[in-house]
């Protein structure tokens, strides 16, 4: 028997091939599996074998703990890497095409840059920067290049010029009433914002896409029941629900993310359903079915990828809502005060607004820019990934 397998279509022994197993894992799934496994093991170890207050990495002498939400965050990062970044690398032609379309929108490119800064800062900032410390002696330091009346800070870190305390590079964005460095707190807040963005997106996308495609493909009364359930989800008073849970169980950031994303996928499901219905009418779906592909293979291979552009756009426009909502809750004092989010920082500085406005302004501006960036990005993605627009250009 020749070792070289024939490479002509009419010389394939199908009976032989189809008898062999159909177990065929893509590189992406394999990578995902291999990277999730250590994470899961670490999670189990953290949960079962270390004490409640013991940091996760004590066994290698690191004083760093991972919360449940951190595990989830890393998991969603892995998902994004293996199923978003790697495919872009695998399909360079398509990537180049999208980038060419995307590039035309300048504000969106700037937005992408800003979001990259927030992402990298949120990911690595807390690893290289110590958490902000309470130091009452250096409270109310002004940001660099600005100055306040000498009497505002307890002691001025920088120079005092004619009764004005000058800001220093030691605290580039000043300090709070507790003497915490505002810049450090903003970087720590980036982590929170990224966690909110990634985890809610994943939950909404997974439930919404699954529900939407299932509903579209099941049809009949199943479809009817599923869509009426979506109506219920959409008309549910999520905020009241959140308050209720807050009073009964107490709420943290994790609770916020879970409750709000569990009630936010309704629109996505509806959208994906209508999109799937229109895609499944296309001739290439027929072609795929004639090839013998199962319904799952058709949905996974053709329907979801073709709906993906709209799904991604939709998600990008969903994130700002979550970020704003978290900030609002924190400002009202119903957030988790232990979480160093931007909203908490704004809320902490509101009583000092008259003489130390930077405590509110710095995180406020960062929050504003981030939300603006997400909106710009969403708009640009809508244009770049839109299949109809693509057909016109082709």
């Amino acid at each position: 028997m020749a070792t070289e397998e024939s490479e002509r279509f009419d010389q394939v022994d199908w009976n032989d091939l189809s008898r062999s197993g159909r177990f065929d894992l893509s590189i992406n799934s394999l990578g995902m599996l291999l990277t999730t496994l250590p994470l899961a093991l670490l999670g189990v170890y953290d949960w079962q074998f270390t004490g409640r207050r013991t940091p996760t990495f004590e066994f290698i002498g690191l004083d760093r703990g991972l919360e449940t939400i951190d595990f989830f965050f890393i998991f969603t990062l892995l998902l994004a890497f293996w199923y978003l970044v790697v495919p872009l690398y695998q399909n360079p032609r398509m990537t180049r095409y999208y980038w060419k379309e995307f590039k035309r929108n300048r504000p969106a490119v700037v937005s992408l840059g800003w979001l990259a800064i927030v992402f990298v800062g949120g990911l690595f900032g807390p690893l290289i920067m110590d958490p902000p410390q309470q130091e009452l002696l250096i409270a109310y330091q002004p940001p660099v290049f600005t100055s306040v009346v000498d009497t505002t800070p307890a002691t001025c870190v920088g120079e005092v010029v004619s009764g004005q305390c000058q800001g220093t590079w030691q605290h580039p964005l000043g300090t709070t009433q507790g003497g915490k460095d505002v810049f450090t707190m903003i970087v720590y807040g980036m982590t929170i914002s990224m966690q909110i963005a990634f985890i809610t997106t994943t939950i909404v996308a997974v439930i919404g896409v699954t529900f939407g495609t299932l509903s579209a493909y099941a049809g009949g009364w199943v479809d009817e029941v599923m869509m009426r359930f979506v109506d219920i989800i959409l008309s549910f008073p999520t905020f009241l629900m959140f308050l209720l849970i807050l009073y009964i169980y107490g709420g943290g950031l994790g609770m916020f993310i879970v409750v709000f994303s569990l009630f936010a996928w309704g629109g996505m499901a509806r959208y994906v359903r209508s999109k799937s219905l229109s895609i499944s009418e296309e001739e290439f779906i027929k072609a795929s079915r004639i090839s013998g592909a199962s319904t799952y293979q058709v949905i996974r291979g053709h329907v979801v990828p073709n709906a993906a552009s709209s799904i991604i756009t939709n998600l990008t426009l969903l994130i700002p809502g979550f970020l704003l909502f978290e900030a609002q809750l924190a400002f009202l004092g119903i957030g988790d005060s232990a979480v160093p989010s931007w909203g908490q920082l704004i809320s902490a500085g509101r009583s000092d607004l008259s003489f130390a406005p930077w405590i509110v302004l710095a995180p406020g501006i960062v929050l504003f820019l981030t939300i603006l960036a997400f909106n710009f990005l969403g708009d640009a993605l809508l244009d770049a990934l839109n299949p109809e627009a693509e057909a016109e250009n082709a």
């Binding site: 394939v12 065929d24 399909n91 032609r93 073709n306």
Partner: protein, 444 residues
């Protein structure tokens, strides 16, 4: 007789029409209503007919994209040759009764090319992966081998191996149709169903694609079910032709016989629609009046009788054939309440004169191509009476009068298939009395 590769027996596909809150079935659109044909190994059968006559539905039922309502599709390819009927009358090779594994195998034996090259490829999948998808689905997990096979095949259909990574929007319609051919071929099937594969292309590209299909057919002994509404394309590529009208096959036979000696009036009408390059040739254009009837409520008897130019006159009647056709149309329109006397009057008045009754009558006759006096005195009397009633505004009574007097055998009896030459059959009442088609061997 050698065993056919594909033999379709009395295939029906009805789409239920449901209404009301309980989704009660109130009727059915009979898109395909009992068609039968055979395709021998290596043969090309053309399926021709107007838009909406059920050609594409027939294709998707044969290839089991849609579950047929009833009938058999017997596929003897894929090493299933020589099977005989089971004692209970079912055939082991009946695709409509295949289980999942057998269906998967059938997919390797029969593939399809679609009409619209722009929508038959996933815009987000490179064409190489689109072709290779079939290999993957059927268990070839070796990515490099898939790539090698697809690249080889792309070259064979006239593209280059580098095109593997390109996306559908980077190709022209003709190139996409070449890729579609590659996709249909990649599993090395015995049968390819081509649903109007060239109707979306330029004429020059059409010829290229057709000759490419021809080459592959010769090299790999493919059978082809070629669907088209274009008679000249059919003549170029097919060995045999089946002419479809409103869900039924009205004539089937070898392509040369059909073109030189068409038996069914509908085939004649289709053939007369082919433009001839000779400017001096007499234009034998047979114009089919009216629209294709709805398949939800097909005409009784012969389905073509509402539009047939050779519709039969009852015994004892002998009038000009055009008059007869006009009379039937007139009867149908009056019954449908579609003759608007006021409108006719206005049309006549537009000529400048105040319309008299006789002018209105003449105008109605002209509209239906009925000459000033019909040869048959009885019919002439009926017609005048109906026209009077119509002008008086009693269109319902006019309809009754016409329906009573004007009848054609075509509307009453369904024609059987008659044989004209070996392998050439048609279904028209005018040929009754000749030898009836003997039941085909697969029927017993």
């Amino acid at each position: 007789m050698t065993e056919p590769l594909l033999s379709v027996r009395d295939l029906k596909k009805h789409y239920p029409i449901r209404k009301g809150i309980f989704n009660r079935q109130v009727g059915a659109a009979r898109a395909v209503d009992g068609i039968s044909f055979d395709i021998a190994p290596g043969e090309t059968l053309g399926l021709v007919g107007e838009s909406g006559c059920g050609k594409s539905t027939a294709a998707s039922s044969v290839i089991h994209l849609e579950e047929p309502t009833s009938g058999e599709v017997i596929f003897n390819g894929n090493g299933r040759e020589g099977a005989t009927r089971d004692p209970d009358g079912t055939h082991p090779n009946d695709v409509t009764a295949f289980d999942d594994d057998e269906l998967m195998e059938f997919r390797r034996g029969a593939q399809m090319i679609f009409q619209d090259p722009s929508s038959s490829f996933d815009p987000r999948m490179s064409v190489g992966n689109a072709v290779g998808e079939l290999l993957k689905v059927h268990g070839m997990s070796d990515r490099h081998r898939r790539r090698a096979i697809v690249e080889d095949l792309l070259e064979r259909v006239g593209l280059s191996a580098n095109d593997f990574d390109r996306y559908p929007h980077e190709f022209s319609g003709g190139q996409k149709q070449r890729i579609a051919l590659a996709r249909a071929l990649v599993l090395n099937p015995d049968l390819i169903i081509a649903d109007e594969p060239v109707s979306a292309l330029d004429v020059s590209i059409q010829a290229e694609i057709l000759s490419l299909i021809d080459d592959f057919q010769e090299e790999f002994g493919l059978s082809l079910l070629f669907i088209s509404h274009d008679m000249s394309v059919i003549r170029q590529i097919c060995d045999r032709v089946a002419v479809m009208y409103l869900g039924e096959i009205v004539e089937i036979g070898p392509v040369e016989e059909i073109f030189t000696d068409p038996q069914h009036p509908y085939t004649e009408a289709l053939l007369s629609s082919i433009p001839t390059p000779d400017p001096r040739a007499s234009v034998g254009g047979i114009e089919l009046k009216g629209t294709v009837p709805s398949p939800t409520n097909p005409p009784s008897g012969c389905r073509f009788h509402t539009r047939c130019h050779k519709v039969i006159q009852p015994e004892g009647v002998e009038v000009d054939q055009d008059d007869w056709r006009g009379l039937l149309n007139f009867r149908d329109n009056v019954n449908a309440g579609e003759v608007d006397v006021e409108q006719v009057r206005e049309n006549v008045a537009a000529g400048g004169t105040d319309p008299t009754e006789s002018e209105v009558r003449a105008e109605i006759r002209r509209e239906f191509d009925i000459s000033e006096t019909v040869d048959d005195p009885d019919l002439e009397r009926t017609l005048s009476e109906a026209l009077d009633l119509l002008i008086e505004g009693e269109s319902e009574r006019a309809g009754t009068v016409l329906s009573d007097a004007i009848t054609t055998p075509c509307a009453q009896r369904q024609p059987d298939r008659t044989v004209h030459a070996p392998d050439h059959e048609s279904a028209c009442l005018r040929h009754e009395g000749r030898a009836a088609a003997e039941p085909s061997p697969a029927d017993d």
